[in-house]
């Protein structure tokens, strides 16, 4: 049975800060290729953003929230370390209390992790409806250069066995043991990174290329058969490095390279980028998706676009709706002045 994505949507908070404002404050901006990034408002967090995209994704099908049988939430920056998170979203959107829900929170791979559990649900429950919402606004110390790239955004997908926009052709994963790159010890409020650049790049390339090439092999595909490749975007340069290693081109990356104007969206990076690729994809297009989370793991998914139906709110529209803030207002909104 064919399963896939039957609805999707993204949400980008409207505040933006430009790299020039960072350069003015710190003398440099350390997120490669990022020109500006998105920032959440004072009264938003990943749960309010997830509620918004979940509603929008359901409306894009349209599917009534009462029909949802599985809900998965993904974020690396939840407001609580312990407490069910998905329940807040499920309840506010009107998804039945009896739908099985899960929280995916420990790495930037969480977005695709949640998508794959959603697909597994639909695979074993052909009349079921899964909703996956990824929302993130990662937090680091203002003194740490890893903070510069961190943006904010969310995307949600309705997964089902009918009314498809994009059919899932297959998925593959790779997990391994790495450390020292982007981690948060139990007692730490902020992300740590030991800044061992070459070692971290080795982890990123190993995990992503192994997941990606395993899927290509499984589907007996060549990179040039894809019109779009969506890759984890910790900045705007990493995707090209991974793409080149797998013999994908910059042209295949173009439809999903949102980090140039939104920054690092953490667990929502691949979901928002995939929504962007779906916005411009034509029937028959193939989309390769490769996520990455430090620690480390990567998921690859392959989609074939089967319908021209689009969501009502395009990622580009969300990116164009913006209000610039300066660095002082940024510090206030991030709660960095206490």
């Amino acid at each position: 049975m064919a399963i896939g994505i039957s609805g999707y949507s993204a949400y980008i908070p409207r505040f933006r800060i430009k790299k020039e404002d960072y350069a003015k404050a710190w003398g440099l901006f350390s997120a490669a290729g990022v020109a500006e990034k998105s920032v959440m408002g004072f009264d938003e967090d990943v749960l309010t953003a997830a509620a918004k995209v979940t509603k929008r994704a359901l409306e894009s099908v349209p599917t009534a929230p009462e029909k949802v049988t599985r809900f998965a939430f993904a974020s690396t920056s939840p407001p609580y370390v312990e407490k069910l998170l998905s329940g807040t979203v499920l309840y506010s959107v009107g998804i039945p209390n009896t739908a099985f829900c899960s929280d995916h929170t420990t790495s930037t791979r969480a977005g695709t992790e949640a998508m794959i559990v959603g697909f597994e649900h639909v695979m074993s429950n052909p009349s079921g409806r899964a909703v996956v919402a990824a929302a993130d606004a990662p937090i680091a110390s203002m003194w740490d250069s890893i903070e510069h790239a961190l943006g904010a955004g969310a995307a949600a997908f309705v997964l089902s066995g009918d009314n498809l926009i994009a059919e899932l052709e297959g998925h593959a994963s790779y997990a391994s043991e790495y450390f020292g790159e982007r981690f948060r010890p139990r007692e730490a409020p902020y992300l740590h990174d030991l800044n061992v650049k070459k070692f971290a790049e080795g982890s990123l390339l190993t995990n992503t290329t192994r997941a990606g090439s395993a899927l290509l092999k499984k589907l007996n595909r060549k990179p040039e058969e894809y019109q779009h490749v969506v890759i984890q975007q910790p900045d705007a340069r990493v995707p090209a490095t991974v793409a080149a290693r797998l013999n994908f081109t910059d042209a295949q990356l173009a439809s999903s390279l949102v980090s140039k104007s939104l920054g690092d969206l953490g667990a929502a990076s691949v979901p928002v980028a995939l929504a962007s690729a779906l916005d411009t994809a034509k029937v028959g297009d193939k989309i390769m998706v490769i996520s990455y989370g430090s620690g480390a793991g990567s998921d690859a998914m392959s989609f074939k676009v089967v319908s021209d139906r689009k969501t009502q709110v395009r990622v580009q529209t969300e990116m164009d709706r913006k209000e610039y803030i300066d660095y002082v207002k940024y510090l206030k909104l991030k709660g960095a002045i206490v």
Binding site: F42, D43, D45, K55, L333
Partner: protein
């Protein structure tokens, strides 16, 4: 700060998270937030729950500036600046007070269409109190 205990807040989450209103079984008017006795016919206390659309328009509004915010919203005003508070006429009839979010305060106008969405209202006892605010649309 006006203290709202956790159980007291929890009892109001159907209205705060989902905008569940009450339809009077006698006169048919929609009450929101819920009442003990229908605000309109003032005779019936029999209601059925109705899901409100969250859509409405700005009936009137005020901008809260420095010094004007109640204690639970003072930090919001300091971090984000002036914010609008409106009386919104919901499409089902009731008028409701709420903040207007996601908007330049200077762009709020009477009769502007708005819709409700989930936001953080404030935090008390380390518990984030979520509820609806209105956004343009």
């Amino acid at each position: 700060m006006a203290h709202v205990s956790v159980p007291m807040y929890w009892r109001t989450i159907p209205q705060r998270y989902k905008m569940i209103g009450q339809k009077c079984k006698k006169c048919g008017a929609v009450n929101f937030p819920p009442k003990g006795v229908c605000k309109y016919c003032q005779t019936s206390s029999e209601f059925e729950e109705v899901q409100l659309s969250g859509r409405g328009k700005v009936h009137t509004f005020v901008l809260i500036s420095a010094g004007g915010a109640p204690p639970e919203f003072a930090e919001q005003e300091k971090a984000g600046g002036q914010y609008p508070v409106a009386i919104v006429q919901l499409e089902e009839g009731p008028k409701m007070i709420g903040q207007i979010a996601d908007v330049d305060p200077k762009e709020v106008k009477i009769d502007m269409p708005v819709k409700a969405e989930l936001r953080k209202i404030y935090t008390e006892e380390e518990v984030i109190r979520y509820g609806f605010k209105f956004v343009p649309g």
